[in-house]
Symmetry: C2
Amino acid sequence: MPPLYKAVKQKLTEELRTGRWRHGQVIPSEPLLARRYAVSIGTLRRAVSELVAENILVREQGRGTFVASHTRDYMLNVFFRIEDRDGRRALPDSELISFRHGRANRAAAAALQIAVGDPVFQIRARLRLHGRPVILDEMRLPARLFPDLNEHIFSRRDTTVYGMFQARYGITVARTTEALSAELADRHTCELLGLQAPAAVLKVIRTAYAYKDLPVDWRVRYIDTKRHHYLSVLGGP
Amino acid sequence: MPPLYKAVKQKLTEELRTGRWRHGQVIPSEPLLARRYAVSIGTLRRAVSELVAENILVREQGRGTFVASHTRDYMLNVFFRIEDRDGRRALPDSELISFRHGRANRAAAAALQIAVGDPVFQIRARLRLHGRPVILDEMRLPARLFPDLNEHIFSRRDTTVYGMFQARYGITVARTTEALSAELADRHTCELLGLQAPAAVLKVIRTAYAYKDLPVDWRVRYIDTKRHHYLSVLGGP
DNA sequence: AAGTGGTCTAGACCACCAT
DNA sequence: TGGTGGTCTAGACCACTTA
């Protein structure tokens, strides 16, 4: 028998997945949910605690429990690991280079768990930190998940990409994996980042997942690490 | 008032820090500890759970709770994030290049929280994965924490470096932070890793911490990422 | 003052492991 | 069979927010 709190967690996840509870909103109180699911408050709290640990819910004492909202601050703290030499972090400004309709190649299909040739959006962007171009992104998004996405929606400046996923498509990114390596920058990359060849760049291949480990974004990113680095923390807090 | 379970956690940590409970051993059962500290089993379990989350204790159902032991498998799962293109991980074989007594420069002193000029061990090593040289390490260890450490102890093959810290000095590494960047390899690095200049290498600056955030190891590491990458996971499981 | 999440208790039963 | 950790309950009181 699977533990009861896992079943409760499933039910909570279902409410989120079907859009019954939307990002930024409060969910019902713990005593109420405990009654609704016919479990004790302790069991209900354990299920909620797991979703909090997974960045899906956020507790605020005295106010309630909320569906996590991908504000800029939230993004910065959870998913953006690039900081300057003094340990300061800031979100980059994005500059769209190109927005195309394409088809998934083998690598993209494998990462996004779709078929080779399935339609994807293929988006290039250059990101600046404190005015300097530092990051080059090439994203591929499964077109099926983002009906009607277009260049204009994409280049709006009032939110992050993942904030837009959430507000417009109800897709909440909960987890990413990134594979890092060092490479020599090619001519094109040097030009866009203002580097003199030969130059080394940090290559990051990211896959982002929504609830239930659904892949929603696959991107290759090149970072100029002359003035910045990528921070990784291993083990306990 | 700080919560009771935090106080209990402090008491548990004290038992570990003073060496009353040694790595690999069972600690007393939960009902017994709850009685000893005069708290309920739930409160005791919460304190233990936090130490488990911090990689300091390990629970085994039906057997007991153990002080984490830095076996090779454990290291591999928690602290070693380098894997090959197919996602396979293996611990490297180490080859000592040099072992010297030195003094902390500014960067080492800041990271290790000691004074500039304090004695440190300065150790270079080359690490091989599947026979190929892939990693170059330059470690600095505060000499005060490792009395009588020498080249022979260090180059023994029966354990990892952190396993040796624990078995010989009672120091358990619980957390590391790593700052990653890409650099062009210098001539020396190219030679030791068998690279043709110009080549890009992944530079990792690691600080390792024991209980209570005591820094115990600071190292600069260069990795050839032609056949390997560094894996970083962000957000919930 | 009423409602929220945060802490804490004192039990119960279950699943697993050693003997 | 006895001891371990894992789950679950049904309460209580506290700290904090909002109205």
